[in-house]
Chain length 309, copies 2
């Protein structure tokens, strides 16, 4: 995947715009890997809380790398100019609002050094929606992390300037990420389209009372989820075709997949269905609050990532 | 999940009908966990190859349990009567053909001891399609493993007799499986419905040239697949709602999920699209043959399962 040759991000100047959860997670990741990171946020309060928000992610990254502490440094900037000056990569984590991001880009663009990469963490918006906010949209890429960004390796990338895309991939790879490139701009990039398609059927099964919320989640975690953490869906069907691989699979089971697709659901989130989903997850959570569930997810992610090494 | 109290399967007599890959995987699993296993297959040749087919799974199970060797025993039966006599659980792995399974059930039923469980590994068929093959369908459950059955813990269960369902869950749990119960008979059970829904969108993205086959697989393995190996889709959206959990998620992002669902694809497996899928997986496989890919998947599964302990 990585097309660049960068071995570390130690010589990189990174700017993080937005000191919320996603911004703090990015900051921790880059600092852990040795980069010089400057964080800006329009809210002085958010900026003050940055250290606290980075502490958990930094401890987890230290755990993941067998106790190796962060080698980079982070500073908080009250002025946007200060954060962006000399930055090679500017990771933007502003709220998911086109007008607001366009306003921010109008302030950012004049401050960019030549060749700088303006990378948007946007989940819901596309490159094509964001590009009109810039006079020279070549500097813009979308670089969507999967939550939590400092643990889940995926970064989905789209842009128009080949040189910047290669450099961005090299930087993310050097920070232990797995950059994956889209060929076309698409709402939801790749991963959230897959997640949305899967969840639609998971919701449908609740609506049809085929299984409980907790049973559906257990089936995923102990079945396809586990397998998809080791092998992709396409390659899994390639193995499903025996010696003839994907060609054999499609010849023998393609028609039955098309029939299955025709039976999948298309639920509407009615008040009754929403109530069933809420009841179901509360039963599954079994008294565990959000913080506890997040910690358990992160512990499991760290164990799974260690197993990959 | 496990509702029974069985701590081991050492006192269980297990019959495996069908000595192919799935049957051999089940046999290895139960033998590893200490059960007495009798395997029958209508083909003497398949029966002769059983030991060879069990060798790999037995070695992997030994590896998974830190070197502990199998404590059960296996015997090959040329007569169906011999395999089924005294069996508590009969795991049926016949080809996915209703008429053929009905014929087999007509031979099996008179041989069952009182309370015995006839469990079908069927992937494509439902309990309702199989039940007419029996005079007393109460003895039948569907118990669908996820490939490869000796490694992936999920077993999806449906049946009508509460006592047999509980005993089956206790037996599978004692063999290290995670039984998940369906409330209603459904084609594809839970996991293959989820997998089919996800793959439809993965195929759609290839059809629309949004990303390469290998990129889509990489996004899954390093993004949602990894996360779904630690937390289910429903619970993940519960965390996505912040302190308000699923209720907050649905209130704020339910409408945008419905809009996303409306943009998901519904591809047709045309010859051109099939060719693109075959080309794509071959590029992703990068010269690795099916055997090599299977071994790499299994190694990764074993590492992931060890990390769960």
């Amino acid at each position: 995947m990585p097309r660049g040759v960068m071995q570390s991000v130690e010589d990189c100047q990174i700017a993080i715009l937005g000191a919320g959860l996603i911004g703090a997670s990015w900051a921790a990741l880059f600092v852990h890997h040795g980069a010089s990171v400057r964080v800006w946020d329009p809210s002085a309060e958010a900026l003050q809380d940055l250290e606290g928000r980075m502490a958990g992610p930094l401890a987890q990254l230290c755990d993941l790398s067998s106790g190796a502490a962060a080698t980079g440094r982070v500073s908080q900037c009250n002025a946007l100019e200060e954060a962006i000056a000399d930055a090679d990569l500017i990771q933007e984590n502003a709220p998911e609002n086109v007008a607001l991001k366009h306003e921010l880009y109008a302030r950012v663009e004049p401050l960019l050094k030549p060749g700088a990469i303006l990378a948007s963490s946007t989940s819901a918006l596309t490159w094509s929606e964001l590009a009109p906010g810039l006079a020279q949209p070549d500097c813009l890429i979308t670089a969507h992390p999967f939550n939590p960004p400092h643990l889940v390796p995926l970064v989905e990338i789209y842009g128009r300037d080949a040189a910047r895309l290669e450099r961005a991939e090299a930087i993310y790879s050097a920070a232990g990420r797995v950059p994956v490139r889209l060929k076309k701009d698409a709402t939801g990039h790749i991963a959230n389209r897959l997640a949305s398609a899967l969840w639609r059927e998971a919701v449908h099964m609740v609506a049809e009372d085929i299984a409980d919320v907790a049973a559906i989640d257990a089936a995923l975690v102990h079945g396809p989820g586990l397998r998809w953490s080791t092998i992709g869906a396409h390659l899994a069907y390639h193995l499903g075709g025996g010696d003839a691989g994907m060609a054999g699979y499609l010849a023998h089971l393609g028609p039955s997949q098309e029939r299955r697709w025709a039976t999948l659901g298309n639920p509407t989130l009615t008040p009754e269905l929403c109530a069933a989903l809420v009841d179901g997850v509360l039963t599954e959570a079994y008294g565990r609050d959000i913080k506890t569930l997040e910690r358990q997810r992160d512990d499991a992610l760290i164990a799974a990532l260690k197993a990959r090494k």
